[in-house]
Symmetry: C2
Subunit: 443 residues, 2 copies
C-alpha cells in the first residue's frame, strides 16, 4: 500500500510520562525520568514499535507550582533534552529525536549548532520543537523580573527561526571536498556568510558545522493561538495539538492546512499530531479500572496545582465543589486555557473534577479501552482529517509504553494504517517530508 496515507506516531516523553502520579503506579520505575538505562530501554522499545520520534518537552525552571504539589512530582528532576538525545542516538538507529528549545532565552547561533550537531550524530534524525517561554519562573532564571509578553515572544520566535535556518544553510551540501593531494578541505565558493541584521538579532555567521544531514532538522511546533497557528503555517513541519473533540480537531486541521495553501506550501508538508493519552486493557472496563487506579494516586494538592498552572491562575481559593469561575487573562498558553474553560462548561465539571483530569493528563484526548477500540478511534480521527497521526502519552512506564507497542501498534499495522518497517533512514524520510533546498546554493 505505498500510496495509502499512513499514520505518524510520536511519543510524548517528558522525558517519560506526563501523569503526575505515574511514578507511584504498581510496577513503575520511580526514577524513570532520570535514569539513562530506563530511557534507553524506552527508546529501544519505541523503535521496535516503529514510532516516528521520541519527543522531549522542556522547562527552563522547576515547574511553576506550590511546593506541596511540587514535592509530589516525579518529573522535578530530568535530563536536559540536547544532552539526553545524543546519548539516545547512540542506542537507536531509526527513531527520530525531537527536542524542545525555547526561542525566548536562547541565542540562535547556539540553537543552530546544537541541532545541527545532533542531526549529524544521529544520521539525520533530529527535530526542533520551537517554543516560546511564557513561564515567569523561567524569566527569573535569565535575569528578568517578568515574563516576556505573548506577542513579543512570537515576533522574536519568527526572526529566531529565520536566523537558525539561515545558519543551517551556511554550507552547500557538497562543500567539503577533502582533497588530500591539493590540501584543500572545502570549496570557499560553497560557504555563505549570513550577515543577519534584524529587529531582535544581529548574527554574522557562518555556522561552524556542516549543513545538517536533513538539510534542516524537522521543525516542530505546538502553539495553537492565532500567532501560533500563523507561525506554524509559515514554518512548521509537524504540529502537536491538544484538541479533545474531533469536531474542533477537524476545524484546526482545516484552518492550519488552509493557511499553508495560501502561503504556497503543500498541506502534505505538515503533520498534525494531537496528543493522546492511552490506557490499554483486555476489556474497556479493565482499562478504565487502570485509569481509576492511577488517578487515585494523584494527591489533591497536585491536581489543584496542575490546574493552576494550566489556567495561569491560582485556583486554590476556589470552591472545589462549585463550577469554574471566570478566569482572568494571563500569560499562560491562551489556547490551552480556553480548551479547559470550554471543557468545564460543556461537561458541567466542578473545579475538583477539572483538577483531577488535569492532574492526570493535562486535559488531552484520552483513549481508554482495548487495542481495537483505541485503534477505531485513532482511525476515525485520521480518516476524517482531524489529524495526520498522534503524539502518544503513556500513563505510566514501562507497562503503559509496552502495552501500546505490543498491543496497539500491531492492531494499527493489521489495518494498514501504520508501517511495519521504517521507510527511510532520516526523520524527514520517515515522516514523508521533503528535504529543504539550501537558499544560498542550488543542488
Amino acid at each position: 500500500m505505498p500510496d495509502r496515507r499512513q499514520l505518524r506516531l510520536g511519543a510524548f516523553m517528558r522525558p517519560v510520562t506526563i501523569h503526575t502520579a505515574a511514578w507511584r503506579y504498581p510496577g513503575a520505575y520511580t526514577d524513570a525520568n532520570f535514569n539513562f538505562q530506563h530511557l534507553k530501554r524506552f527508546a529501544q522499545t519505541l523503535e521496535r514499535g516503529k514510532f516516528d520520534a521520541f519527543f522531549m518537552a522542556d522547562h527552563q525552571a522547576l515547574l511553576n507550582m506550590p511546593i506541596q504539589a511540587l514535592k509530589r512530582s516525579g518529573t522535578v528532576t530530568s535530563f536536559e533534552p540536547l544532552t539526553l538525545l545524543p546519548a539516545l542516538a547512540v542506542v537507536t538507529e531509526r527513531l527520530g529525536l525531537i527536542a524542545t528549545a525555547s526561542t525566548t532565552y536562547n541565542e540562535p547561533y547556539h540553537v543552530a549548532r546544537r541541532f545541527a550537531s545532533l542531526d549529524h550524530l544521529s544520521g539525520g534524525r533530529a527535530g526542533w520543537n520551537l517554543v516560546t517561554s511564557g513561564n515567569p519562573h523561567e524569566a527569573m532564571n535569565f535575569g528578568r523580573d517578568e515574563h516576556v509578553e505573548h506577542d513579543a515572544r512570537y515576533a522574536r520566535a519568527r526572526e529566531f527561526f529565520d536566523v537558525v535556518t539561515g545558519l543551517w544553510d551556511s554550507w552547500a551540501d557538497d562543500a567539503f571536498i577533502r582533497d588530500v593531494e591539493s590540501g584543500v578541505y572545502f570549496d570557499p565558493a560553497k560557504l555563505h556568510t549570513l550577515n543577519h541584521k534584524g529587529e531582535h538579532f544581529k548574527v554574522k555567521g557562518p555556522l561552524n558545522i556542516a549543513r545538517p544531514v536533513q538539510g534542516w532538522p524537522v521543525i516542530v511546533q505546538a502553539g495553537a493561538s492565532e500567532a501560533g497557528r500563523q507561525i506554524a503555517a509559515e514554518t512548521a513541519e509537524a504540529v502537536f495539538t491538544g484538541q479533545t473533540s474531533i469536531v474542533e480537531a477537524r476545524k484546526f486541521y482545516a484552518d492550519v492546512k488552509g493557511r499553508m495553501a495560501k502561503l504556497g506550501r503543500s498541506p502534505d508538508h505538515m503533520k498534525i499530531l494531537p496528543g493522546v493519552f492511552v490506557v490499554v486493557g483486555d476489556t474497556v472496563e479493565a482499562a478504565q479500572a487502570k485509569k481509576r487506579k492511577l488517578d487515585s494516586l494523584v494527591h489533591p494538592d497536585s491536581g489543584i496545582a496542575s490546574l493552576s498552572v494550566a489556567l495561569g491562575s491560582d485556583v486554590s481559593g476556589f470552591d472545589l465543589d462549585g463550577p469554574l469561575p471566570e478566569i482572568p487573562e494571563s500569560n499562560a498558553s491562551q489556547s490551552g486555557r480556553q480548551r479547559l474553560v470550554d471543557m468545564a462548561a460543556r461537561d458541567n465539571l466542578t473545579v475538583r473534577q477539572l483538577a483531577q483530569i488535569v492532574g492526570g493528563s493535562y486535559g488531552a484526548l484520552e483513549l481508554i479501552g482495548t487495542p481495537a477500540s483505541i485503534a477505531d478511534k485513532m482511525e476515525e480521527w485520521f480518516a476524517t482529517h482531524a489529524c495526520d497521526g498522534f503524539n502518544v502519552m503513556f500513563p505510566y512506564v514501562p507497562e503503559g509504553l509496552d502495552d501500546f507497542v505490543d498491543r496497539v501498534i500491531p492492531e494499527l499495522q493489521r489495518r494498514g494504517l501504520f508501517r511495519k518497517e521504517y521507510e527511510g533512514r532520516t526523520l524527514r524520510e520517515n515522516l514523508g517530508l521533503p528535504r529543504p533546498e539550501n537558499r544560498f546554493f542550488s543542488s
Copy 2:
C-alpha cells in the same frame, strides 16, 4: 604504590588533533573531526590507555583566519562539545569527558543544566573547561560588533562560576526520597533557591536537575594571564598550560599553587597539565622524520594565518625571512602571545619559522622521539614539579593516538608513573580530587 604521586593524562581533542595538516598525513581519516564512528574509536582507545579524560576545545565561530588558510583546515566543521560528549559517554565507562563552554556568550542556567545533565548521564565523568571568549568573530555571532575586553570577560567569568556552582548545589545529595507510599518524591527542606543578584547576573534558581554525581563537575581552566592565574587559584581543579620550558613551567606551577595555599586551598586539589605534542618513532630520527613529513604538508597560507590568530595581529605583511617585529597589544590571549614572542627572541626565529611551528602545534611543548625518550622527559617535568601530568596532543589520527596508547603508556606504567587500572568510577576519583561540599546542606 598507593602513596606515590601519579601522572594525570588528558587527551586534547579538538575534537581530534590540533595539527593543521593532520588530515593529509598518510593513513589519516580525512573526516576524523566529524565522524562519530571515528570519535568513538578514539575515545575507546583512550579508555584502553587509562587516560583521565577526553578534552574538547571549542570555538563559537569559524576560526578567525583568511579564507585561503581556512579552506585548508580539517577542523572547520566539528561537533558541538555538549552534544558530542553525551554520545561518547554511552560508548565508554571510565573516561572523563571535559567540554569547553564560554562564560562570555552563554547564560549560567543553561551551562549549569547541561553539565549537570552530562554528569548524570556519564555516571560522574563530566568536566567544565571554563573559558572567556576574546575572538571578535565569536562576538559577531552574538549581536556584538566588538569583542568583550579581557578584564571585563574575567569579571563576568568569576561571577558566572559562582552562579553555576550555586545552582549545582540547589539540591542536597539525599533530597530525592521517592516514597511511593506517601507520594512524596523529594523533601522540600532539601531544596535551596539561589536568588543570586550580582553585577552581571540575576538568577533565581533552583536548578531543575538533581545535584551532579560528582557534586560539581571538575572545574578546568586554561588562562595564564594575571587574571587567569588568579581565577584558576580560586576555582580550578585542573589547569591546561602552554609552557615549553621546564624552568618557566616550574615558575608557573609554584606561582599558582602558592596562590592556592594563600587562599587556603590544598595545592593537591589542582592538577597542572601542560599541553604536549607527541610524535613517537622506533628511533629519535624516525620520529623526527614523521614530524618533518607532517610539517611539509602545512601550506604556507596556513602557517601565516595560524600565527596571525595566535598573536592576535595580521602578520601576512611581515618580511617572512626577517625577525618578528614588535606586535601591538590586542585582545588575544595575553600569555599565549607572550610565549611566542619570547620563543622567537630566544631561538632567533624568522617569521616563517615561527609560522611553521605554530601552524603545526601552536607552539606547545613538543616531545619527538622513542617511547623511552618521551617518558624520560615527562618524568623529568613531573618529578621536578613542573607539572602534575600532561594534556596530550596527537599529531595525526589514528596512528599518533594509537602510538601513544600502545607504546608510551606501557613505558609510563612500567616506571610506576601511571595507573594500570582506573582507581575510581568518576573523573574526580580518578584525578584524586575531593567531592565539593554542598554550600547549603551539610552531608
